[in-house]
Structures are given as structure tokens and as C-alpha cells.
């Protein structure tokens, strides 16, 4: 056997196989996009150590992530916030880490998604997920940092590199494709199909896919996920969350920090469920009252309450841009954030 010939055949055929796969996945609507993984998050977290006291850090779950657009915020204030919101999480452990382990004394805006935020501190997936990101931030090796930096140009170039740490149902890596095969009913079917509905930039600014608004079936698939599992979730808690936040906020304010809470919009059945299970009067209102920090609820402002979320939980990006502009304007009017722009 001629090994040299084999190598050339392997190189040529390998290139052809990968090219065919790349063309196929593009034809199926996949785009080359970055994975919003722990490594990308850690890059943003590292920036917090070098921020000045007029800068802003955004914490929260996917609602802040989708609804606050960094370009619009920067345009309005001259300051580009650091996006540390993390999908499907409570911001509490991240806020604690910033208070306890950094000298940051600027503004922290915390998004409140009731079902995730009013959960028992230290428990559940909503706590574990951000904790894992923090662990990665502290433990990441130089090799992991190099791997991530090298992966960014590849992820931006090739659509077939479409696998996410989130393990979306429509990822196209081998593991997801194989594990997606289902035969018979020996075990109950697992989680509902949960497809990715947005992509991030290098600084984690999110853009929602256009099909989330235009493709009702696609949006309905996501809506089903939001509606599932409510009966199995632990009851929301208030006192434990207040007790957890109070000393942290006091410590943060003592060194000059400002904290703002923001309740982003939800719509349809999702909003109805939130109203029924975690009513504002029993959770948001007493929380804001007791922690003595500014809180902004979308329902309280006409300019924030007219939006409709295509999948009942997040704003479509053009709406998110408007929402961000309005939020920033309100915060500036109330003098709770700073601007580098002259009036």
C-alpha cells in the first residue's frame, strides 16, 4: 500500500465530506455562530476586575440577556455594559461573587425572572448553572483559554460547528444527532424538544432568530417548554432571597456600588402563569420594598409594557432595542445610572 497516496485521498475526500456537510447544514438554515458557553462568559467576567465606577454589569437570566441590547445602551450612555446574564439561571451567586471577590463599585443591574429569581438560594439547576460558570472562570487553564480563542474564528466560519453547551435539541453534533433517535417507549420521553432561538456576539449581546417571530410552529415549540414542569417546581421563596440579598447589597453599597432590579416583559400564557404562581404583590413588591433598592417593573411604565414576546418570554431583537432605549432613558431620568455623554 502506498501511504502517500492514501494521505492525499484522505485529505481530498475529507475535505469533500466536510464541504458537503457544511453545504447541507447551511441549506437547512444553520448559520455560523458563537456558542454562548462558559468560556465566552468567563471572558466577560474577567473584565469586571478592571471596570471603573461609572460602568455597568448586567446580571440575570435569559430575559435580560435577550431584552437588553448592548449597542443601544452604549449609544445612550457612552458606556458599554458587561453582559453576565446567563440563560436559565438565578443571578444571585454571580452577584455574591462580584460583591465578595471583586472591588467593582459601579452599577449592577439584576434582571428578575420570577420563577428563577425567587428560588431557594443554593439549590436547584438555576443555582448550579451559574456556579459552574464561576468555577470555570476560576479554574480555567491556559490551554482552555487558548482553545476557546482558537475556536472563535472557526465557529464564526463554519455552520456545521453548531453544538452548544446548552445542548439544544437542534444541535448538529454527532452526540445530539444519535441521542435524538428514539425507539419505542421503554422509558418516558425526556425533556420537550428545546431549540436554540438566538445567537450571541463575542461580547454576549444576543440577537433573536427572525424565525422565532415569523414561524409560529417554531415559537410554539419554545412556548411549550416554558409551560412544562410548573407542577414539579419547588414553591417560590421570598424571605430566604431577601435575607440572602440584604447583607450583599449593604456591602456593595458601602463601597459605593449601585444596584438596580429590573423585571423584563413576558406575554401570553407564560405571563398568566407567573401572575398566578408568583404574583407580583406577594414577591416583587415586598422584595423591592424590603431591600431598599430601585426596582423597575415593566408593568409600571407605559413605554415598557406594550411589547409582546414572540415566544412569551423574550423580546424580538428590534423590540429589545426599543425596550433598552426606554429602560436607559428611565434610569437616566431617575439618576440611577451614569452617562459619559454630555447632555
Amino acid at each position: 500500500m502506498n501511504l502517500k497516496r492514501s494521505l492525499w485521498i484522505a485529505l481530498t475526500s475529507g475535505f469533500i465530506f466536510v464541504s458537503i456537510w457544511e453545504f447541507y447544514v447551511r441549506s437547512e438554515g444553520y448559520a455560523s455562530e458563537l456558542d454562548d458557553n462558559k468560556a465566552l462568559w468567563a471572558i466577560q467576567r474577567a473584565k469586571v476586575d478592571h471596570l471603573t465606577d461609572d460602568e455597568v454589569v448586567l446580571l440575570g437570566s435569559s430575559r435580560v440577556h435577550y431584552d437588553i441590547q448592548l449597542n443601544e445602551w452604549e449609544e445612550a450612555t457612552g458606556i458599554r455594559p458587561i453582559m453576565l446574564a446567563s440563560d436559565g439561571t438565578t443571578p444571585t451567586p454571580i452577584f455574591k461573587e462580584i460583591v465578595d471577590h471583586t472591588d467593582f463599585s459601579g452599577t449592577v443591574l439584576i434582571g428578575v425572572a420570577p420563577v428563577l429569581f425567587f428560588s431557594e438560594p443554593g439549590k436547584g439547576f438555576m443555582w448550579d448553572r451559574p456556579s459552574k460558570r464561576l468555577k470555570h472562570y476560576y479554574d480555567r487553564t491556559y490551554a482552555q483559554r487558548a482553545n476557546h480563542l482558537l475556536s472563535i474564528p472557526l465557529e464564526r466560519s463554519f455552520s456545521f460547528l453548531n453544538a452548544s453547551e446548552e445542548e439544544w435539541s437542534d444541535d448538529i453534533d454527532l452526540k445530539t444527532l444519535i441521542n435524538g433517535i428514539s425507539i419505542g417507549d421503554r422509558v418516558p420521553s425526556g425533556r420537550l424538544p428545546f431549540n436554540n432561538f438566538g445567537f450571541v456576539d463575542a461580547d454576549r449581546n444576543v440577537t433573536m432568530f427572525e424565525k422565532t417571530r415569523s414561524d409560529t410552529a417554531f415559537a410554539n415549540g419554545i412556548i411549550k417548554v416554558w409551560g412544562s414542569g410548573w407542577d414539579k417546581r419547588p414553591a417560590p421563596v421570598l424571605d430566604a432571597v431577601i435575607s440572602y440579598y440584604k447583607p450583599l447589597i449593604a456591602k456593595f453599597k458601602e463601597r459605593g456600588g449601585e444596584i438596580i432590579f429590573l423585571r423584563c416583559p413576558s406575554s401570553g400564557g407564560n405571563r398568566e402563569r407567573e401572575r398566578a404562581k408568583i404574583p407580583r404583590s406577594e414577591f416583587w413588591n415586598p422584595f423591592i420594598e424590603q431591600i431598599e433598592s430601585p426596582g423597575y417593573h415593566f408593568e409600571d411604565y407605559e413605554s415598557l409594557s406594550h411589547f409582546t414576546c414572540p415566544e412569551e418570554s423574550h423580546l424580538y431583537t428590534p423590540d429589545a432595542r426599543l425596550f433598552t432605549k426606554e429602560v436607559v432613558q428611565i434610569l437616566l431620568n431617575d439618576n440611577v445610572i451614569k452617562t459619559r455623554k454630555a447632555n
Binding site: M1, N2, L3, K4, R5, S6, L7, W8, I9, A10, L11, T12, S13, G14, I16, F17, V18, W21, T141, Y142, A143, Q144, A146, N147, L150, S151, L154, F160, L161, A163, E165, D173, L174, K175, L177, I178, N179, I181, S182, I183, G184, R186, V187
Partner: protein, 471 residues
Amino acid sequence: MLFNSLSFVAFFIIVLGLYYSNFLQWKGKKRMLLLSSYIFYGMWNPPLVVLLWISTIVDWTAGNKLSVLKNPVSRKMWLLISMVVNLGFLAFFKYGNFLLENFTTLVNAFGWEFQAKPMDLILPMGISFYTFQTMSYTIDMYKGKQEKAKTFLDFALYVTFFPQLVAGPIVRAKDLISQFYEPKKATLNQFIWGLFLLTIGVFQKVVLADALLSSTSDKVFDSTKILHGLDAWIGTLAFSGQIFFDFAGYSTCAIGIALMLGIILPDNFKYPYAAIGFSDLWRRWHISLSSWLRDYLYIPLGGNRHGITRMYVALTLTMLLGGLWHGAAWTFVIWGILHGIYLVLERLLKKLVPIKINNWNGIIFALLTYSMVNITWVFFRANGLDSAKKMITSMFYLNPNGEKLLGFAEIGKVSIIISLLFLCHWAMRNTSMRAISKKMPAWVFGIIWAGLFFLICLAQGSGEQFIYFQF
């Protein structure tokens, strides 16, 4: 740094570029390889490179002394210094917490109510591998079986050579140091074959171990429930495949990478799941460790020179320590003891029931061996003794109402992969990949190679760590 990572691809391209450049002489190339090896290790945790330096300096000094000293007491003292330093590091970093935990349990059993704060130690990657490798040099020097390395550079490179630094093969000094004495350059065929081995190794790790088997194995072993027998077996079979592909994948990468530099490393796996009996298994699985344990533990413990009883004790003790080498937990001790018992029983049975192995009964015995190996894998993988006990009970169908975790598709996936793995090992039992490839038309081999590459791209490995890095 992991072989299945982009940083390694960039690193290795630079190393190859410098290695085959004309502006470095052989000594310069060796210095470059040594520096690269420290970078390779330091990219994980730079301060721990110091441990490598200490091991290197201590064993180089001990080797130098052993090469000139004639006084038996002085010679023994230098051997002891080397062993105390090397085993001391290993004991402190790897077994410190285990010893503390067991000490606490023991004294509390006597009512002392002692509470120790766990030591927050990082286990230096590959410490078990490079410790054994460097110790073999000093022990062989002491026994007069090894000549002193010609230069410090050759010795330091032997301790640190990046392809096999963190997960083997554990190479003896006589097999590696001498290769550094003369300029080395891979022939074109060696280079291409090395690249193919690297592809196969990454394929085993990224596609077979991580993408296809790890999720099933993790699902079963991370479950806290009492499982249905079928689920317990499928999870264990998945782990048997995962650990083989993970570890053999690493060794294959290491051998391929070294070959691309013109350095030959020994085989570490020879189709172990086709082993007929456990002596055969240990001649095929992690060969460099089992031969190390044989030469530096089993034989010094008496081997088969002091009667049958002592031999069985030596065998069991060797396997027990082999288990502990893998990890500081009682589950690893049981894993080792089980293998020791298997080896003893096999020797007893061979005497009592002499059977002539042929092709027909061979595969049955191989299957029996593989099944029994799977029992031991439960202890190797389980998160604790309770979890292992539950799994073993389920595997012997003593939990008829056990929880079903796996769907038919997942059961089918694991069954197909493991059946193919076993049959492939059986078919390859007495041959090698190189021999098979030579009989293949070039275009068929090329297409297979391309297929492996495509599947690696499709799997999009997320840079999962090799299991054996933790040992």
C-alpha cells in the same frame, strides 16, 4: 494540553516546524522538545512544572551517584532518596486526602470525635505516570540494568517527553533515552503512519468514547436509583468501551505523535477485550503499567520463586497496589483485588482443568473474560461503594423492579458498538492495524481515513479531558 484540542493542533504544528527546520542542530531540537514539553504541561497548571523539575533533578543526581558508587549502603541510600521523593509527592498529592479520611474514620471509631479539615489539593496531571517512569530509571540504575543517561538534557527529555508525559505509555529508560542520543527524523512513511495513528486516537476519544458512549455510562453510573438489570449491564458495557477508547485513544495519539518526530514508543494496548483469561488480559491492557508492576513490584515481592502461596499473595498484592495506583478510593482497591483474585483463580483452574484453547472455544472464553472484566469496571467507575453495590445487585438481576433509565435506541447503540468492539478485537487478536492496512488498497485506506476525519468533525469534541489524566 489535550491532544483533542485546537491549542494542541497549533502547538504541534509549531513543534513540527521547528523540529524539521534546518536552523536547529540536534541538541537545539532536543532543547526545543524539552521546552515544548514544559509548555505542554504548564498550559494546564504552570506552578506544577516545578514538581517535574524536582523529580528530574533528584533522579538525575541519584542516577549519577549510583553509576559511580560501589558501597552498597550508599547505593541503597541514593535509591531510597529517589523513591522517597517520588513516592512522597505521589502520596501527598494523590493519597493525602484518602489517608486523612480513613485516619479520621478509624480514630472516630474509637470515640475520639476527631474532625480533620480536608486538604484542598490539586492532583498534578499525570503524576502517577511520570513518577513511575522516572523511578524505573533509578531502580534499573541501582540494579545495574541501566547505564547513566549521557547528558542531563537527554534525561530531562526522557522524564518530560510531551507525547507520553501525562498518560503514558510508561516508557523504560533503555527504550527511550538512547533514542535521544542520535538525530532522529521520521521517514515519510513513518510520518504519515504517525498522522494516521493520531487520527485514529482522536477518533477513539472524541467519537467513540465521548460522543457515543460517555452519556450512557454517565447516566447509569450517576443515577442514585436502583436500576433494572439491563440498564446496569448496558451502562457498564458502555463504560468498558468508553474507558478503552479513551485510554487506548490517548496511547495511540502518543505513539503517533512520537512517530511523527521519528521516536518510537511501545504499544500500550493489544486488543485487550479479546483476551482469553486474565494473564492474557494484562499482556494486552495498559501493557506498560502491567509490565512495570511485574518488574518492580511482583518480582521483588517474590514472584513465583518462593512457592505457590507466596506467589498468590504477591500477585494479589501487586494487583491491589495497581488498583490504588489508579485512584485513592476503596473502589479502586476492590477493583485491584478482584483482578488479583481472577489471576489466582485462573492459575488454579489451569492446573485443575487443563483446556486446549482453539478458535471455537477461544471466543467463548474471551467473552467470559470480557464479562468478568465488566464486573470489575463497576468498581472502577462507581462513585462509591454503595453505588457499586447497587449496580452489582442490579446486574445479577436481584432488583427485578429496578428503574429503567435507557430507551431502546440507547440500548441498541451501546449493544452495536460494544459487539463490534469485541468482534473487532477478536478478529485483530493476532495481527495489527499496520499489517491489515498493508493488505488494503491505498484508496480504500484513504477513504476510511477521510471517514474518521469527517466523524471527528461531526462530533465537534468539546475538549473533554482523558479519563486517565486523573490517575
